[in-house]
Symmetry: C2
Subunit: 332 residues, 2 copies
Amino acid sequence: MATIYDVSQLAGVSLATVSRVMNKNANVSEKTRLKVEAAMAQLDYKPNTFAQSLASNCSNSIGVLVSQLDGPYYGPMMAEIESCLRAENKHVIIAVGHSNAATEIDSVDFLLSRGCDALILDVEAVSDDYLIELSQGPTPIVLINRYIAQISERCIYLNNELGGYLATRHLLDLGHRDIAYISGPKNKHDACERLEGHIRALSELQIAFDPDLCFEGNYKEEAGVEAMKFLLASGKTFTAVVGANDQMVSGAISVCLEMGMKIPEQLSFVGYDNIPFARYISPKLTTINNPIHEMGKMAALWLLKNVYNTDIDVLSVFSPELVVRGSACARS
Amino acid sequence: MATIYDVSQLAGVSLATVSRVMNKNANVSEKTRLKVEAAMAQLDYKPNTFAQSLASNCSNSIGVLVSQLDGPYYGPMMAEIESCLRAENKHVIIAVGHSNAATEIDSVDFLLSRGCDALILDVEAVSDDYLIELSQGPTPIVLINRYIAQISERCIYLNNELGGYLATRHLLDLGHRDIAYISGPKNKHDACERLEGHIRALSELQIAFDPDLCFEGNYKEEAGVEAMKFLLASGKTFTAVVGANDQMVSGAISVCLEMGMKIPEQLSFVGYDNIPFARYISPKLTTINNPIHEMGKMAALWLLKNVYNTDIDVLSVFSPELVVRGSACARS
DNA sequence: CTGTTAGCGCGTTCAA
DNA sequence: TTGAACGCGCTAACAG
C-alpha cells in the first residue's frame, strides 16, 4: 500500500505538500498540485483513514443508534442517513438499542469508543437527564423521535400528540363516538403522546376516555391481534379503533377479517406511521403519515452543517398528516 | 482523555506493560496486572481505537454492503449481523449498493478505504469476475445471496431454484395447471433462479412455460399491481399465480381484492421470502421461507471464525421451505 | 507557496 | 516478567 511518503518521493515534494493537496483547502500552486495528483494516481494511493483520524482527531464517522433494525420503521430512515452522509464521504456505524436502557447506554459507549464524530440517537429507554448530560460531552448528538426542552435544538421531532389527535379526529368527523384505542407501550414517549392526542380529540366533543376501551400493546403485529381479541371479548360497544402504529392495526384487522367481519363497514380503523406496506394491506390503511425518512435526512444534514461545516440547507420542520385510504368510513 | 501513558505513570510501569494487560495474551504478573487495571479504572481509560488500528493494522470493523436498506428484506439480516458482531466488540459499517454496478463497486471501495477487516456483500449488479478478483485481495469477503463456484466457500446462499420449484409445485399439487408468474428483474441472479425452478416444476408435468403468462417486475409492491393488471388484461386463463417475492404478490392481491375478487377461491397466490408482514396480510400469504436473517448470522459467524479466529461454531446450511397459509387453495 | 519537524496513541520488537 | 525505543501514516504548526 502506497503511503503519503511514496507519493511525496515520486512527485518530488514534501509530505506536507501532499497532505495539502489531499485536504483541498490549503494553497498549493497549480503546477505542484498536478504533479502530486499524477503521482497519487500512478501509485493508486489511498490515504490511511486511521492515520488521518489519529492525527486530525476526526474520524468522518457518525454513529447511528436505533431501537431496532428489523421491522418496517427504521429502514427508510437508515437509508436516508446513509445516502446523505455517504455523499459527503462520511460513514455510518450502526448499533441497536432494543428499547432497553442498559443496552442503549452500552451502545452509546460503544459508538463513542469507536471515535464517532457525532451520534444520531433514536433512544427510548434512557432518561432525559442522561441525554442532557451526554449532549454536554465533546461528541455532538442529535435526537430523533424525542423532544427534550433543554436541548430542543438537537431534537428532530414529530408532534406525536397532534398525530394522535388527527387520527381520532378523523373518526369523530366520520360520526364515530365509541372509539377503541390500541396503545403502544406506556413507557415509550411517543406512545404516551399519541394517546394524549387521542384523549384530547375525544374531550373536544365531551367524550370521556374509557380505559376499558384501551389496550396497551408493544407496537408489533401480534399485539394488534391480542388487542383485538381483548376488545372483542370485552363486550364493550365500539365502531372504530385507532392504533398507535400500523403494525398493530394490521394485526387487529387480520383477526376481524378472519372472523368474517367487513372492514371498514363494520369497524373502522386508523393507523399511525404510514409504513410502506400500509397501502398494500387490504383494506388499504387510513393512517397518519410519519415522515421518518425525512427526519433521518434532517438529522444527517444537521450534522453535516453543524459538525462538518458543510454548506447546505437543513430542511424545515414537518408535521404529522392524515392519509385517507380505505380502512375507515362513516359510521353507519 | 486519558492515554496509555497516563495509565503507565499512575501505575508506575511502562507503556508496554499497560499495552500487555490490554491485550490479554502476553505474560504479565498478577500483581502488576492489578495495579494497571486499577489505574485504568481510576482514570476511566478508554483505548483510542484509531491508534490501535494504526499500530496493529486491524480495525475491528466489518463492512456490510446491501442493495437496499428500506423494504422488509434486509432489516432482519442487518439485525443479526449487528448483534453477532457487536457481541465480539466488532462494529459494522454500512453501505448501500442500490443494485447498480457502479454504485456497488464504489461502495466496496468506500468500505475498503475505511479499513474494514472484512466485507459482507449482498451485491447483484457486479460481475462474478469482479468478485473473484476482489476475493483474492487482502480483505476477506463473504457473499450473501449469491453463488460463485470458484469461491463457493465464501458464499452464503439459498437454493433459489428449489424455492421457485417448491412454490409452483405446491400449486400443481393443488390441481392448478394454468399458473401465471410474476418474475423479479431478469438481471438479478435470484430472480432468474426462482423462475427456473418454476419452469422445472411445470415441465415435470409436461406443462409448457407460457411467456405470455409471465411478467417481469422489479420486486416492489407497485410492480405487483402492474403485473396483475397486465395479466388480467391479457385475456389468458389462469387460476393461480406465483410471485418472485412477497411484496409483488401483495401488490397483485391488492388489485384483485379491489376488483371484488375472492382470494384464494378465485385465484391462488404463492409468494416468496416470507417477510414478516406476510402473515398479517389478508389473506395470509402462502410463501417460501427465506431465512435471510440466519444467512446474516452465518456470515457474521463465519467472519468471526475465519478473520478473528474466534472459537465458535458456524451454522450448517439451510434450504427454502414452503409455508402454507391462506393465499392458495385447491383448484375448484 | 513549500519544507521541516513534532506529535497523534498505541503495538511490538529487542534487550535486560 | 518488564522496559526502551521505534514505527504505523498522517496533520498541523512553524519557518522560510
